[in-house]
Amino acid sequence: MTEVRPDPKSVAGKAVPPAETADLVVIGAGPAGLAAAIEAARAGLGVILVDEHPVGIEVMGDEVPLHFGQAMTGAVRNRNAMMEAVLAAAPEIEAAVEAGVDVRLGTAAWGLYANGPGLAWLPGTLVGVAADGVAHLIGARRVIVAAGRRDMGLAFPGWDLPGVVGATAAVTLARRYQALAPRRVVWLGSTSEALAAALDLKAAGVEIAALVECAAAPVGAPDLVAALAAGGTEILAGHAVRRAEGADRVASVTVVPVDAAGADAGPARSIACDGVVLAVAAVPVVDLLDAAGCRIGFDPARGGHVPVVDGDQRTSIADIHAVGDCAGLWPAKARDPEIARAEGRRAARAVVASLGGAAGPEAAPTDGPGQPEVDPSAYRTAWVAASVVHAARDCTVCQCEEVTAREILEVRPPRYLDAAHDARNDRSLASLLGEGPPDPDQVKRLTRAGMGPCQGRRCREQVAALLAIGGAVPLDRIRLASHRAPVRPLSLAVLGSLPEHPDQAAHWDSWFGMKGQWRPFWEVPPQFRVGDDADGPQVSE
C-alpha cells in the first residue's frame, strides 16, 4: 500500500483545540435557558451559560439582535447600569450562579459548528462566542440553544423613523434594560403572542393607544383583547397602517380601514404616538441552529420556521437541543413561561442522561402547541399585502441596502449599478424559476435585499411574504433564506482574533497549492502522472 500523507494544503491535522471546554453550553439566559442550565449544573455537569444582553448601544443601533428601532433611552450607554438591570430582571440568574453555572452576560454566540456531512475536521462541536472585542471557541459536549424570539418587520412609509420598534425589542428594552423611550404607542398585530407582549408593556407603564389588526377581528385570545380594551386601548380591527410621521422620531401614525385584500376601505385618520410597535409575528430565532445545519421546517402550530426536535428537544444534530421560544412559539407558551422552562429541564435531563449522569425526576408533561389560532402563512402574507403592497410599493423593505418592495417583486438590480434604465433588466420573479416557488436566496443575491449589516433581521420574513405574493404560492412554500455564521456582525479584528494552527500559516498562498496548476499551458507535458509532478517551483494564480 502506498504511504498516504494528507494534502498539506488541506485542513487535515490543522484543527485548533478550543480555548475552553464544557459539558454543556447553553445559549440564551431566558426562562428556558436558565432552567436548562440550572437543571444540568445541579446534576453535576460543567455548564457555561452565555447571553448577549446587555448589548452595547452601537450594536443596538445596528438592530442586532432585535429591531430596537432607536427606541432606547440614553441609559443604555451606561454599561454597568445595564448589566445591573439585566441581572435584576432575572432573579434566576443568581440561582444559576449558585447552582454552579458559569454565567457570562454580554457574551454573544455568533457561530455553532458540528462535524457532519461535508465537514469532518473540527475538534468536536464548537460554539463561537465574542465578548469585549475578543472572539473564541468553546468546545461543547452538548449545546442547548435557547435563543428566544425576534420580530417580523413590516414596511410602510416612515417605518425607518426612530420609535418604530419590534415588540420583543420593546419588551426587552422596558423589562430587561429599563430603557424604553416611547411612552404612548400604536400596536400592530393581535396574535396571542402579540397581545401578551402588549399587556406586558402596559404593565411596564407604556400606554397602548391603539391596537391595529388588518383582519376583520383580532385573531388572539379574547380575554387578552378584553384586558387591553379595558385598559383604554382602542381596538382597530380591519385596519392597516399607511405611514408613520414625525420630524426626527415618530410623532403620529396614519391608519385606514382596509378590505379583505388590504386595500383602503374608508377614510384615514391620524393617531398621535411616540412609538409604533411591530407585533405582527414573533419569530423563533433559528439563526445559529440553521447555520449549524440542524433541520428546520415550517410548522404553522409553532410559529413558522422552527427546528425539528424530538421529545427531548433534540435537533437533527444529536449534540444540539433547542428549547424555549426558538424551538417554537404558540399562544399558551407566550402566556406561561413554565412551558419554556419545562422544555429546558427536559433537554437538560436528556443531556445529563446522555453523558452518563443521574438526571432528576421526571416533571409533569406540558401541553404542546395544539391547533394554531391563525394560519401564520396567510396571516403574515395578509399583513404584507395590506401594509407593504398597498401602502406604497416603492417603500423600502430592506433598510440596510435600501431595496423597495417593487424592486424585490421585479427583481431589479440594485441602484448602485445604475442599470435600471435598461429595459432588458426588467425581469419578473416568474422568469427566475419558471417552475417552483421563487428562491429567497437567489432573489436576495440579485436585489441585495437582506444583505446588509442587520443580516436580514428586519426584512427576511417580509421578503418571503413578498415572494409568496409575487409567486402566487402560500408563504410556507417559500424556503427559509439561509443563515450563515457569524450570525452577529463581528469586525474583522474581532473575528480574526480566533487562533490559527501553526501548520496552517504556511499554507495560505496559492489556492489548492498544486504544483502544476499555474504552469503556462505551453509548458505542460502531454501526459500527466502524479509521480512526474513532484518537483518544480510553486507558481501562483
Partner: protein, 391 residues
C-alpha cells in the same frame, strides 16, 4: 417541462460553464436546454471569488478579450471591473506572486511592480506591513450571481430553456450515441449532450463508461459590510483571493480546503467553519484600515478538481456525441471563453480560437490508479477507513 421532449443540445448543469455554453449555443439559434438539479449556481458557480485572471490557461486571451464586452453581449450587468492588484506582506509572497508576470508577459499583457509606497497609494485601505505588490493590467473580477443570472436570462432571450430543480438521472443510448437524457421529470431526446455538472461530472460520465478523474473539496469565503469604494476593487494577496464588490463589501477567501466524498444522493452539504476567523485576520492584515469592518456572512462551496488542476473540455471517444466540461477550480473567470469553446466543440468539433490540447481527457491515460492517495486528496472518513484497514 412536460412539453420539452427534445432539444438539439442538452446541457447537464446550470453552473457558469453550462449556462455560458447554453448562451453561446442559443445565440447561434441552436435549440438548447440546460438541466439543473437545484437552482442555477447551486454549487461553486454561485459561491466563488469572482476572479477573472487565469494567465496560465489557453483560454486566457479569450477570457481577457470577452470580459470587458460581457455586459453588452449579455444585456445584463455582470459587475465586471478590469485589472488587479496583489499585495505581498513578505518577500516570499513577493516572489510567488511575481511568477504570474512572466506568464502574462509572454501573452502580451503588461504588469507593474509596486514598491510599498506605491502599493499603499493604490490601495487606500492597505497600511503598514506591505512589502510591495504587483499591478496587473489584465484580469479583473465580476459578481458571480449577476453573471450567472445574466447567462441564464440572455440564453432565454435567445430561445434557450433552463430547467431548474430537475436532476439528470441517466442516459439512453443507441448506435454508439446518447439519444436521450433521462431526468427526474422525463426524458429529453437530443443530438448532443454536454456534461457540465461540476463535482458530479465524474459520476455522470461514469454512467457512460468514461473515467473522469475528479476529486472535490470544500473552500470558504467571508464578506464584510460595505465600505467606501477603493479606486480599484480587485485587490488581493497575503494568501487571499477576493475583491471589494461594487457595493463596497470586502469578499475574500483562501486558506485550507477540506477534501470530501461526494454524497450518493442529493447536493453536497456546504457548511462553513471557524476558518472564517483565520480569513478575517488575513483580510485585516491585508487591509488594516478596514479592520473595523464587520463580517456579516461566511459561506462555503464545493469545488471540482482534476489531478493536475486543469480543466477537461473534450469530446468522449464513445459515445461520440458527448462533451465533458469540468473546469477544475478556475471556472468562473474562464466561463465566457469556456462556453464558447464548448459551443465550438459541439458545433464544429474543434475550438476555433485556442489550443485545447492541455484540456484533453487522454492526458490522464497513464495516471496512477491511486492518484487520490498519492496526492493525499482524501476525506477524513477515507483516511480513517484506510488507517482502520491498515491495522
Amino acid at each position: 417541462m412536460e412539453d420539452i421532449r427534445k432539444a438539439a443540445v442538452v446541457i447537464i448543469g446550470g453552473g457558469v460553464t453550462g449556462l455560458s455554453a447554453g448562451w453561446w449555443l442559443a445565440r447561434d439559434g441552436i435549440d438548447v436546454v440546460v438541466v439543473e438539479k437545484g437552482t442555477l449556481g447551486a454549487e461553486a458557480s454561485g459561491r466563488n471569488g469572482g476572479g477573472c485572471s487565469h494567465h496560465h490557461s489557453p483560454l486566457f486571451r479569450e477570457e481577457q478579450r470577452l470580459w470587458p464586452m460581457m455586459d453588452e453581449l449579455l444585456g445584463y450587468p455582470t459587475e465586471f471591473r478590469p485589472n488587479r492588484v496583489r499585495l505581498a506582506r513578505s518577500d516570499e509572497q513577493m516572489v510567488l506572486y511575481g511568477r504570474a508576470l512572466t506568464n502574462a508577459a509572454a501573452q502580451g499583457f503588461r504588469s507593474e511592480v509596486l514598491d510599498a509606497k506605491q502599493a499603499q497609494e493604490l490601495v487606500p485601505l492597505a497600511g503598514e506591513g506591505i512589502v510591495g505588490g504587483y499591478y496587473y493590467a489584465f484580469g479583473g473580477h465580476a459578481n458571480p450571481h449577476r453573471t450567472l443570472q445574466g447567462y441564464a436570462w440572455a440564453m432565454q432571450d435567445h430561445g434557450g430553456t433552463l430547467l431548474q430543480n430537475c436532476a439528470v438521472t441517466g442516459f439512453r443510448r443507441a448506435g454508439g450515441r446518447v439519444v436521450a437524457v433521462e431526468t427526474e421529470r422525463g426524458a429529453i431526446a437530443c443530438d448532443h449532450v454536454v456534461i457540465a455538472a461540476g463535482p458530479h461530472t465524474g459520476r455522470l460520465a461514469a454512467l457512460l463508461g468514461a473515467d473522469i478523474p475528479l476529486a472535490v473539496a470544500r473552500a470558504e469565503m467571508i464578506v464584510t459590510e460595505a465600505l467606501p469604494l477603493m479606486p480599484l476593487g480587485g485587490v488581493d494577496g497575503n494568501g487571499l483571493y477576493g475583491r471589494q464588490t461594487l457595493r463596497g463589501n470586502l469578499a475574500y477567501g483562501g486558506g485550507p480546503h477540506e477534501w470530501l466524498d461526494l454524497p450518493h444522493e442529493g447536493a453536497p452539504p456546504k457548511p462553513s467553519t471557524p476558518l472564517a476567523g483565520n480569513i478575517a485576520r488575513r483580510v485585516a492584515e491585508l487591509l488594516p484600515k478596514a479592520a473595523h469592518a464587520r463580517v456579516i456572512r461566511s459561506w462555503a462551496g464545493v469545488i471540482e478538481n482534476t489531478p493536475d488542476g486543469r480543466p477537461i473540455i473534450d469530446r468522449l471517444p464513445e459515445p461520440d456525441n458527448v462533451i465533458v466540461a469540468t473546469l477544475s477550480s478556475v471556472g468562473f473567470g474562464l466561463s465566457p471563453a469556456s462556453g464558447r469553446a464548448i459551443r465550438d466543440l459541439v458545433v464544429d468539433r474543434a475550438c476555433s480560437f485556442a489550443d485545447l490540447s492541455t484540456f484533453r481527457l487522454d492526458r490522464f491515460a497513464a495516471l496512477e490508479p491511486d492518484w487520490r492517495e498519492r496526492l493525499g486528496w482524501l476525506s477524513a472518513e477515507a483516511f480513517a477507513h484506510r488507517q482502520g484497514s491498515a491495522v
